[in-house]
């Protein structure tokens, strides 16, 4: 079981999913119409480290975060 959380302006409650890699997460989230506009411009972190590949393996207890476009300052 992993947790998926949506940061900043993405108004969505965390999900708990039984998945083992980010490819599976992509397939699941792509079915969510609300999220369509965010998937193409959001970064992904696993346990608070940004990742760049969908092949990233996941283990139970991992926390996945979606980070939409940023603008500090």
């Amino acid at each position: 079981m992993v947790t998926v959380e949506f940061l900043g302006p993405i108004q969505k409650q965390p999900l708990r999913l039984e998945i083992t890699n980010l490819n599976q997460l992509a397939s699941i989230l792509q079915q969510d119409e609300e999220l369509a506009k965010w998937l193409g411009n959001s970064a992904v972190a696993v346990n608070d480290t940004l990742v760049s590949s969908l092949d990233t393996q996941l283990k139970s207890g991992d926390k996945i975060s979606l980070l939409p476009p940023v603008c500090g300052g």
């Binding site: 302006p9 992509a26 979606l66 939409p68 300052g73």
Partner: protein, 148 residues
């Protein structure tokens, strides 16, 4: 050091504290960058969300880069609402010589804009409106949108 505040920053006090904290550290150059909310396009102010775990690791990486160049950095940022003409951001570099400080503050502020996990909202009619058009997708964004 990284300091997060609820609401606007007390800029004179923060600059005074930072300056005095390094008063005998023998840095020849001190350059703060202060960001203030502009009254434009009918907004009442801005509001910010921060994701602290990744902000901390991003900042730590920059603190390490600064150290390698004999410099130090400090940063303060607001959470929540900051009204027009109030300040939400201070970044500062101290270094022995001016060239490193001038280069470092620019690199740091530009990467901050592109990479720090902070989300900005316009305050319009008391409501938060996400400032998508002024926001930047972080490096590596979009992997979940690719069709498998």
């Amino acid at each position: 050091m990284l300091y997060l505040y609820e609401g606007s920053l007390d800029v004179p006090t923060i600059l005074k504290e930072w300056y005095e904290a390094e008063a005998t550290s023998n840095y020849g150059a001190f350059i703060p960058f202060v960001g203030t909310v502009r009254d434009e396009e009918g907004i009442e102010g801005l509001s910010f969300d921060i994701y602290e775990p990744i902000l901390n690791s991003w900042f730590e990486a920059w603190a390490q880069k600064a150290k390698e160049r004999g410099a130090i950095i400090k940063m303060a940022h607001s959470r929540g609402d900051v009204m027009n003409h109030e300040s939400s951001y201070i970044a500062a570099v101290f270094s022995p010589k001016r060239r490193v400080a001038l280069e470092f503050i620019e690199e740091f502020v530009e990467d901050f804009k592109a990479s720090a996990p902070i989300w900005k909202y316009d305050l319009i009619g008391g409501k938060r409106v996400y400032a998508l058009d002024r926001s930047t997708a972080m490096q590596g964004s979009g992997i979940l949108g690719a069709k498998g």
